[in-house]
Symmetry: C2
Subunit: 144 residues, 2 copies
DNA sequence: TCAAATTAAATTGTGTACAATATAATCACA
DNA sequence: TGTGATTATATTGTACACAATTTAATTTGA
């Protein structure tokens, strides 16, 4: 039953389940992230901020695979919410330094619940999760 | 060096590489999809149309994990490009029937090049790809 | 049988994503 | 040292993505 269009069947794609899975998982974060007033993208941005305290937009973009077109409005929102500050670097005014605030640091204590709540929500065997993690990072490494 | 915030580190996430990988792969489709005047979402919608010829919006949404909020404007765009038609079902006027046109079917012959071009662009061992495919579908199955 | 519930699409509003372009600061080097 | 190239961020325009709501058609059950 093979025909010349088999490569265009949805079930033969690798990218499609990747795309669909990512969306479905992010969707499942929503009820938990709502409680701490963050979207998923804001949440991963805050992860970087919690770990590094101070970064510029370019560095943040490299961590998250996002560019200034996405990050500029997102960081303005996080600033409005009081979780980060934004100011130009004195040494090189092209750089915009993003710093986590005290309020942003306090949020971290609420946010630690999120991974726990999620692991209760998505049942995926430890071994499978480790395999998936390894393969995704292998693919990401190929991109650089 | 373990601390109570380890679960919030970007490197300990499973969702983040999923999210990042999906975006990076979709981005790599762009130059090839530009040649046939489709975005990635329009491309996977056309995959369903090429295979099934005629579906309603609900069915299409089930195949693609998308809702009418995304599909309605997307299908209007595909209609404007002449690749599909949209009309209400006679039997049940709640249903909108989407049909692929002759122009849409012709596009398929151009589109078969895309998976070939992509496989030349993303080098990922056959075994890894098969593993990844299996794990992603296992996760998607858990969601239903 | 007909009003309430359900269903399918469409609409509205918010928030990404990203390509392309613009702007401003800094760097490199002739 | 000045100017052309480079770099970092911001802006603009297009296209998703989805929650929440609306509208219209159909189904259900007292």
């Amino acid at each position: 039953m093979a025909d010349k269009y088999d490569s265009l069947k949805l079930e033969n794609q690798l990218c499609f389940p990747l795309y669909a899975c990512a969306k479905e998982v992010v969707k499942r974060y929503k009820p938990f992230l709502d409680k701490i007033d963050l979207t998923y993208t804001q949440y991963i941005a805050m992860m970087v901020m919690w770990e590094h305290k101070s970064v510029n937009v370019k560095e943040l973009g490299e961590y998250l695979f996002l560019d200034s077109g996405t990050l500029t409005p997102l960081l303005k929102t996080l600033e409005k919410k009081g979780f980060v500050t934004r100011e130009r670097s004195k040494e090189d005014e092209r750089n915009l330094i993003v710093k986590v605030t005290d309020k942003g640091l306090k949020l971290r204590d609420e946010a630690v619940k999120v991974p726990m709540e999620m692991s209760g929500c998505i049942k995926f065997e430890k071994e499978d999760a480790a395999q998936l993690y390894r393969l995704l990072h292998k693919m990401l490494d190929n991109f650089e």
